[in-house]
């Protein structure tokens, strides 16, 4: 039988893959396997790339704290295609026996991954996807998130808008989970304080023809506009907002992703946009300064929020491995160590809630001279309500 198995591995190695995993070796000599499930092609490729860079950088920096354990990375391209997510996740789980699985960017892919990985013998760390469900109704002991829940960056903006005297606001985003949840979070705090949402516009995802919607907003002429857009859509939106003359007449507020990794492409159109997020490039702390410098050196481009979130996923792994003295065989102990972790992230200190979502500061930023400048901390140590989570 043993022979058979080897034969089959050989066969499959020939037929399906080029890698052949070594059979059981003593646990401590074996590297810690970190599966990476991020998009490296398609529209989210830039985000996936940054997340991977951050993760690798963190584990490299903390190599001394791993008690001699080596790290082996297994990288899988999700192509941001949700229907492939379960298959890739089960590949990392069953084929590669990954100890940690880091991913994804896209909430749809997250749903597919969670379906496979929930309550399994590996730890999933989400370095971006903000779907409320991941640390809400679908939360599980082995699912962590080092990024944010969709609720977190948007909720504080309601208060900010009221403080600025905006009473009538139009909200707008793509019609998908992350977008709707962001708008809901804003609405929650904004209407609680007496504000009024005069119109809520949901644009079919991933449409980027915004002109007709913006013309309509122009005719409503609200006190402010709150939006959730990211990536290429954010670039297009901000440019259209400027081109149609709304900029400077109606203040534009947003969840911070509107101006993350997109400022260069947006150019002067982005000036003056105010957003709330758990990070800002120009955040003034020592960790951030060092992080940004090292990142620039290693990858020859500036770090962004996605890199930070990947970096923190690396920090989380390192801190847990360190605390357990390199032995991560016992999953319960590992999870406990991760729950109690306190990370000194470039975004400030973060700890983890019961639902395994970060408790973190939210910063109010404004684009000034092509940079997100922090102008306030509307809420410090904000915890996601984790509605529906039974942990």
């Amino acid at each position: 039988m043993e022979n058979n198995r080897k034969l089959s591995h050989l066969l499959l190695a020939g037929a399906l893959t080029g890698t052949l995993s070594a059979q059981a070796v003593a646990a401590s000599d074996e590297p810690i396997k970190v599966g990476i499930m991020l998009p490296f092609s398609g529209i989210y490729a830039a985000l996936g790339d940054a997340g991977r860079n951050g993760l690798k950088m963190a584990l490299q920096e903390k190599a001394a704290e791993l008690h001699g354990r080596k790290i082996e990375f297994i990288e899988m391209d999700t192509e941001a295609r949700p229907e492939r997510a379960p298959e890739i996740a089960s590949s990392l789980l069953d084929q590669h026996n990954a100890d940690f699985i880091i991913g994804p960017v896209h909430s749809g892919v997250a749903m597919g991954m969670i379906k496979v990985l929930r309550n399994k013998d590996t730890v999933m760390i989400i370095p971006n996807a903000g779907a409320a469900a991941a640390t809400g109704p679908l939360c599980a002991p082995n699912i962590f998130r080092t990024s944010f829940s969709s609720w977190q960056p948007s909720y504080p903006m309601g208060k900010v808008a009221l403080d600025n005297g905006y009473k009538r606001v139009v909200t707008m985003s793509w019609n998908y989970g992350m977008g709707r949840e962001s708008l809901d979070a804003f609405e929650e705090s904004f209407t609680a304080g007496g504000g009024e949402i005069v119109k809520k516009i949901l644009v079919p995802f991933p449409k980027t023809e915004f002109q007709s919607y913006l013309s309509e907003i122009g005719s409503i002429n609200p006190d402010a506009v709150f939006v959730f857009f990211a990536g290429g859509g954010a670039v297009k939106f901000v440019k259209d907002y400027d081109a149609l003359g709304l900029k400077g007449k109606i203040p534009l507020l947003g969840s911070g992703f509107l101006t993350e990794g997109t400022l260069e492409a947006q150019g002067p159109s982005a000036e003056g946009i105010r957003t709330t997020l758990h990070y800002a490039d120009a955040l003034d702390n020592e960790v951030n300064a060092r992080f940004r410098q090292n990142y620039q050196q290693m990858f020859a481009k500036p770090a962004d929020i996605y890199a930070v979130q990947g970096y923190d996923a690396g920090l989380l792994i390192a801190s847990a491995v360190n605390r357990l003295g390199g032995d991560i065989e016992d999953q319960d102990a590992l999870i406990k160590a991760m729950e109690e972790a306190k990370l000194f992230s470039p975004r400030g200190e973060i700890t983890f809630s019961k639902a395994h979502n970060p408790i973190q500061n939210i910063y109010l930023r404004e684009v000034i001279d092509g940079e997100n400048k922090v102008i306030d901390v509307p809420v410090a140590a904000l915890e996601d309500p984790a509605r529906g989570c039974k942990l």
Binding site: L12, L93, M111, Y176
Partner: protein, 320 residues
């Protein structure tokens, strides 16, 4: 004889016994089992497309619509937290999607050629956006199915769907049955008329056949089987997402079908295995796998005019 071509018989005798024994080698490695399962499922879908495109001459770029519908119909009609019977729901899903195909086919089959490609695409995009923009069906993020159906038939449960090996065999059986079924159909008198329509629709009308009705029947049949594949895919991971309905899914199925050898039916299996295998290997080798995948596809179009099956058939002919 049901399987007339020698190449096809050889293929069946090589492929199915190998596939049957595969889990014996792979008992440790559930990933390969589920990867192969996914391939089998997709091969069913590709085969149903191959029948439409290769045997009936009806080119569609919207077949993924039924693949996705197979999953979404289940989400819509099954209770969320109760296990339902697999066979009964197989029947429901095939029947409902056949009904939908009947209506859509009635509209679509009035056009032909390039216009049919486009109008099928239009309907698929409509369904895509219907589910992608919906809130109750999970929208763009998709939706979970929490309970797997049980497969008892007359009180005997043959497959435990939570067991990947059982599920693998269910899909392998389904694949074989699909091939068997399509062979029966192509060999039947109905198949004779379909062949006649494919070769010369004008002549067939002049002989007194109502070409439209025959095409519609074929369309309904292939669509229902496409939906069955989608249903199996949904069962595998308990997850449905609008991307199942996207034109990229239709496109890659078309690529696999042409790659395998259009109209050969068993070529659909060949095409799917080769395409997925290449995808898997390249993806593990390089981040820029798309480049090599694209280049390989281009090369294959230029070199293998009749797909892999056509190439094999030629090879056998030469030797004998």
């Amino acid at each position: 004889m049901l399987f007339q071509k020698r190449t096809e018989r050889i293929f069946i005798w090589v492929f199915f016994p190998l596939a049957l024994m595969m889990p014996l080698f792979l008992e440790q490695n559930t990933f390969y089992v589920s990867k192969l399962t996914t391939i089998m499922i997709f091969a069913i879908f590709v085969m149903s497309l191959d029948y439409l495109v290769g045997r009936c001459g009806l080119i569609t770029l919207g077949h993924a619509m039924f693949y996705g519908l197979g999953g979404y119909i289940f989400v819509m009609i099954a209770p969320e937290y109760d296990a339902v019977n697999f066979w009964i729901y197989t029947f429901y899903i095939c029947a409902i999607s056949a009904l939908i195909a009947l209506v859509i086919g009635f509209l679509v089959l009035r056009t032909s050629g390039i216009y049919m490609i486009m109008i099928t695409l239009a309907f698929a995009q409509m369904t895509f956006y219907f589910f992608s923009d919906s809130i109750e069906f999970g929208g763009n993020d998709g939706v979970f199915i929490y309970v797997k159906p049980d497969t008892s038939l007359f009180g005997i449960s043959m497959f435990d769907l939570d067991n990947p090996i059982h599920f693998y065999y269910l899909c392998l059986l389904s694949l074989f049955n699909t091939l068997f079924f399509f062979r029966l159909v192509t060999r039947s008198r109905f198949g004779r008329v379909i062949d006649a329509i494919h070769e010369n629709p004008g002549r067939t009308t002049a002989l007194g056949y109502n070409v439209f009705v025959f095409r519609l029947m074929a369309y309904v049949m292939a669509s229902a089987l496409g939906a069955y594949a989608g249903y199996l895919f949904t069962m595998q991971y308990g997850f449905v997402n609008p991307s199942m309905l996207s034109w990229q899914t239709s496109g890659s199925a078309l690529v696999m079908s042409i790659l395998g050898g259009l109209g050969t039916l068993y070529g659909a299996i060949l095409g799917t295995v080769v395409y997925e295998g290449l995808h898997y290997v390249l993806e593990h080798m390089t981040e820029h796998w798309l480049l090599f995948m694209g280049a390989l596809i281009i090369l294959m179009v230029i070199l293998f005019k009749n797909g892999i099956a056509g190439y094999l058939e030629k090879l056998l002919e030469k030797r004998s």
